[in-house]
Symmetry: C2
Subunit: 115 residues, 2 copies
DNA sequence: CTAGGACCTGACGTCAACGTAAGGTTCAAG
DNA sequence: CTTGAACCTTACGTTGACGTCAGGTCCTAG
């Protein structure tokens, strides 16, 4: 599959895909003319990246996580990193929950205030 | 209270505080020498900003939200914006929950894989 | 009244995740 | 064999939330 199809099917831009490759988190073969050739798994992988990005992880973190995703974490280093990242995610969820509650307060107040 | 104390008590940099003022989300009086003078509320306000930032809101959004926080939302425009932002927060929480679940899978796999 | 810490205003630097433009190549269709 | 879409590399532009440096002012303790 060429880059344009991956882009369409995963919902990101061609530029983004080349960027992912540049960051070492997405790989591809090259056809005879030098064009990238992706396998089927690329689409799912890119969707996974989108989830990670949406969760606030950077390309750097994703690059660190990928070996764990693919091979199951091995080194103590990697396990510790997983736990650290998990804690960060939980923190972010807590922050969002707090903001969500505040938003709900605001929306309630706004409803009360309706003319 | 001067800017340095606000910075210490709220845990952000002096530069950040001046940036917030520049963005119109934090106000202050000026003393005779031209130095900023903040009231007590500034510290809490800045902490609120930190929560909003952590939730992925931009200064622009915060600027739009502030009138609602202070006066209770009024215009239909503002109410709609609140609802839109709430939806975004929920989306982000969902994304984070998904990633959290995946992290837990990874951590479990890593534990199984422990030597 | 003087030292030095806190403060001031520009203004340029940074980093991530791409966007975008330039200039050239490859591929699929007719 | 030509055309036009899709692809390539290189490289500069963008946005947000500050960091950092320069060069000058203010405030407070001794």
């Amino acid at each position: 599959m060429r880059i344009g199809e991956v882009a369409r099917r995963s919902g990101v831009s061609v530029r983004a895909l080349r960027y992912y490759e540049e960051q070492g988190i997405l790989s591809s073969e090259r056809g005879p003319g030098g064009q990238r050739e992706f396998d089927e798994g690329a689409v799912d992988r890119v969707r996974l990246f989108q989830q990670f990005y949406a969760a606030g992880l950077s390309s750097r973190r994703i690059a660190e996580l990928l070996p764990c995703v693919e091979t199951g974490a091995t080194s103590a280093e990697q396990r510790a990193m997983l736990v650290r990242e998990r804690a960060r995610i939980v923190e972010r969820i807590d922050a969002l929950d707090t903001v969500l509650a505040r938003m709900d307060d605001l929306i309630l107040a706004a409803a009360d205030h309706t003319d």
